[in-house]
Point group: C2
Chain length 342, copies 2
DNA sequence: AATCATTTCCAAAGCGCTTTGAATTGCGAT
DNA sequence: ATCGCAATTCAAAGCGCTTTGGAAATGATT
């Protein structure tokens, strides 16, 4: 059943039927009722492809996820983010178009998305410190919102970010206040903007108390469990082990825990741990009271909000770039305690 | 730049240009060359929306993910699966359309997808024991492939599944061979087909040795870390604790580990653990040698293959339903050992 | 040089919807 | 009855592509 058939059936023009269905005012309420009823009765649904062509809109938002050996975009965090974004999309009749691309062809992917009109806008994931995707998208004229920020980028653009500097400053301060002297940082890849900022927050806290940075206590890589484990092993087996460790995600914190417990040490006593917790739905930081003391900010909420910001932009409800900086909350769990006295 | 502009520019008809660009034979090689060069020079890309309408194909595959409090589809496993599927799609010029829907409206989502022509086919995730989505999709005439199976479903359909019965039978046998008498199962939701089959494999192994099922040793729920932790605590603190535990995923196994170590017990000595390992890229079961002894099958590979099966079906390279049953491999890690003698 | 089969190209008809600009209808006011 | 204005409805023109059915050009064959 298509529009022509339906309108023939009703003895009305396609125009009227289309308007009736799309809620335009220039159609009598009685006819609108007749039309919607007939549409329901015959299970009429407008063809999306035709609608797209006619309106020039696809009602879909692009997410391009680069695939490489180097850097894993497709991770836990990503899936919770899109769950949130997807919720927002659904509420507004959009859905999400995900393209997986070789990371060397990422720029091309955005170009194609824009020039072929596959999507009405895109979300940019995992911005680097100086991310060339941003000027590219501006130039392409494709609406977009960045989840995170790109520090060295001068072009104005919309973003939503967690205040990573403040979160890691506070986390570090929290440990220093507990008397810890040697606080380690197991960070994400520092080409990523968020990781760079987290290190900055950590470094600021140390600098405030005139504690020198120790290269033997800071590491940066893909945030996996084995990475957390391996680096913790190294550090604990070295001459001057840290008494506290901060990780950029719950996942490496699991590895830290494994390494600590394997050595017969107690978490929260011998070694304190704080992690950044994205509040992933299927990897909760404990049920009820948190296992790890953590700087917490829901990535799912971020997804929801980014989606809304982008749709607002697409539909012209906002004009210029919009920024949102969220503070993480510092939740105290069982993984931190006063520094052990030697 | 659209097709008409390009053809005007070249002094050719739209027909010829279109054919030249799409590799049809009825165009001289010289003209084809001229056309492709002009297309590149002017950065011409055919409009996807128009193409869709004309061809009746969207070159996209739908994934509908139900959102509910009850059951979390959007999980780690899902994201690795779509990474794999996405890779296959990209290779064939497809991409993925993800709709997040309220789980009560899931059936509607499939209907809409089919009748509005938003996608060329869908992948069905997380089939239940008796999943009504399958007959619905057959009736709608929308091509689909199921990741997993639905036992009580009589309609024929294409699927790719891991041999869960065999995997859990072998895992249980492995533990029984090591002398374990009390083997616990921490399973996923048993309305899910895979979980039901895993329990069956577990039960078969016990039955083979005339060991009665003990309700105090089997649990079934959402596969989270806290769930693994909580149930392990219960069991270890009870009168007759198990000496081995099998979990349906790496995630609850982490909780099991936490509970075991918290009690000063040693994994692989006091308590053995086997888990099902989906070989998630960002949550690897150790680097190098596996931490947990595990039944392993890559969900990413499954995604890749499901994508290919579906595109084969859409493009008519296969006719009837296709089935693939993958055997998981049992990899021995550090989490299992002989049963402790009391 | 005429004939016929190929090759190569084109005009025009969709695909199913939205939207413009105009035509028709209804109805109170003249 | 008639006019004027608003409320309804409609015919037709796109949106940018593919594809059908033919026409024109080319080349091989007699």
């Amino acid at each position: 059943m298509n529009l022509r058939e339906l309108s023939d059936l009703l003895g009305l023009s396609q125009t009227t039927v289309s308007r009736a269905l799309n809620g335009y005012p220039e159609v009598k309420e009685a006819t609108r009722k007749r039309v919607t009823e007939a549409a329901n009765a015959h299970n009429y649904h407008p063809n999306t492809r035709a609608k797209s062509l006619a309106t020039g809109r696809t009602m879909s938002i692009g997410h391009v996820i680069p695939l490489s050996s180097q850097h894993e975009m497709v991770n836990c965090v990503f899936s919770d983010f899109i769950a949130g974004a997807g919720e927002s999309y659904a509420r507004h009749g959009y859905d999400m178009r995900v393209s997986v691309v070789d990371d060397l062809k990422e720029a091309d992917a955005y170009k194609t998305l824009a020039t072929t009109g596959k999507v009405d806008g895109v979300i940019v994931h995992g911005p680097l410190v100086n991310d060339e995707r941003i000027p590219l998208l501006v130039q392409l004229g494709l609406p977009f919102v960045v989840h995170g920020r790109s520090s060295d980028c001068t072009t104005p653009y919309s973003w939503l970010d967690v205040n990573n500097i403040s979160a890691f400053k506070r986390a570090t301060d929290f440990l220093l206040d507990l008397g810890h002297k040697r606080v380690a940082l197991i960070n994400g890849l520092e080409t990523m903007d968020f990781a760079m900022r987290r290190r900055e927050g950590y470094a600021n806290a140390l600098a405030d108390r005139d504690i020198p940075l120790d290269a033997a206590l800071t590491y940066s890589s893909e945030m996996t469990e084995p990475f957390g484990y391996a680096k913790t092993c190294e550090m604990l087996d070295a001459a001057e082990p840290p008494t506290a460790i901060i990780t950029s995600s719950l996942i490496p914190a699991l590895g830290v825990r494994r390494a600590v417990e394997e050595r017969g040490l107690t978490i929260g006593k011998d070694v304190s741990i704080i992690c950044f917790d994205d509040a992933l739905s299927y990897l909760p930081n404990g049920a009820g009271s948190p296992i790890f003391t953590a700087a917490r900010s829901s990535v799912r909420d971020a997804g929801r909000r980014c989606g809304e910001m982008l749709m607002d932009q697409i539909e012209g409800r906002t004009s210029g770039p919009v920024h949102e900086l969220w503070e993480a909350e510092l939740v105290v769990g069982q993984s931190t305690g006063p520094a052990p006295n030697r």
